[in-house]
Amino acid sequence: MTEQELLFGLRHGEESAFKELVTRFQDKVFNTALGLLQHHTEAEDIAQEVFIQVYRSIQNFKGESLLSTWIYRITVTKSLDHLRSKKRKKRFGFLSSLFGDNNIPLYEPEDFNHPGVLQEKKEDAAILFKVIDLLPENQRTAFILNKVEDLSYREIAAILNTTESAVDSLLQRAKGNLRKKLNELPP
């Protein structure tokens, strides 16, 4: 099924077209969400929300970009929204623990292990994901799309609605910040 046929089917509410879309993109959407959220269950929830959003707003898709670019964009937006809401809850959780009976933080982040990382690199990758979590949103997104989803600068530029040189700059800054944060970690 070509992209045009897929779009035609989706716009006419054909279930077979929707199933084909999900089959074609579910791994890409899930992998991107997982890289950004670093949590399996949350990544699955967000991936489902992405496809629901695609199903509901397919009539608004003008075809100015590739379908994959549009879906990646929705995935990034939804993942970042989720992270922001999680951070708000985290702050609230911290306050609750301050005023609660015990001083145990309610949200203790666990080490994230991406299932696709080579066995011998798992420990290092877990440390890297921890510091990726500290990057600003745009640097983190560019880094994950490039390193985890293996997208080209051109694809990332299309998703983030920017230029390839801006993506290059984001990635350089991300790497610099990651090194800096790894250096700053206490022994």
Binding site: V22, Q26, A47, I52, G116, L178, L182, L185
Partner: protein, 109 residues
């Protein structure tokens, strides 16, 4: 100042995502997705069957019934303070029939 990681280790950490394989969506992803996408109408029906909604509806109906019963009871009681009007007649079947032009007349008359 002492650091947690040596420069060599930092390089190793920085390149740890090399050769990463993309994660695969969980099994039955599509089935779960379809479950989440159940039609709004179905959700509305589920809302109508929620215990809170059912209890609230029954409570409202009960209150309306009680109020109407009390009102009927009050209306049925003779008003002892009312002045008896000599012109007023007690309502009989005949007066009711007369009021609605339902007198016992034959079409042959």
């Amino acid at each position: 100042m002492q650091h947690k990681f040596s420069q060599k280790r930092i390089e190793s950490i920085m390149t740890s995502l090399g050769g990463i394989q993309p994660a695969v969506a969980p099994d039955f992803f599509y089935t779960r997705l379809k479950g989440k996408m159940q039609p709004a109408a179905e959700k509305k029906t589920i809302f109508l069957l929620r215990p809170a909604f059912v209890t609230a509806t029954l409570a409202v109906l009960f209150i309306v019934n009680v109020i109407s019963l009390l009102q009927t009871d009050k209306a049925a009681k003779p008003d002892s303070t009312a002045v008896y009007n000599i012109n007023s007649k007690p309502a009989t079947i005949e007066s009711f029939a007369a009021a609605y032009n339902m007198n016992n007349t034959s079409v042959y008359e």
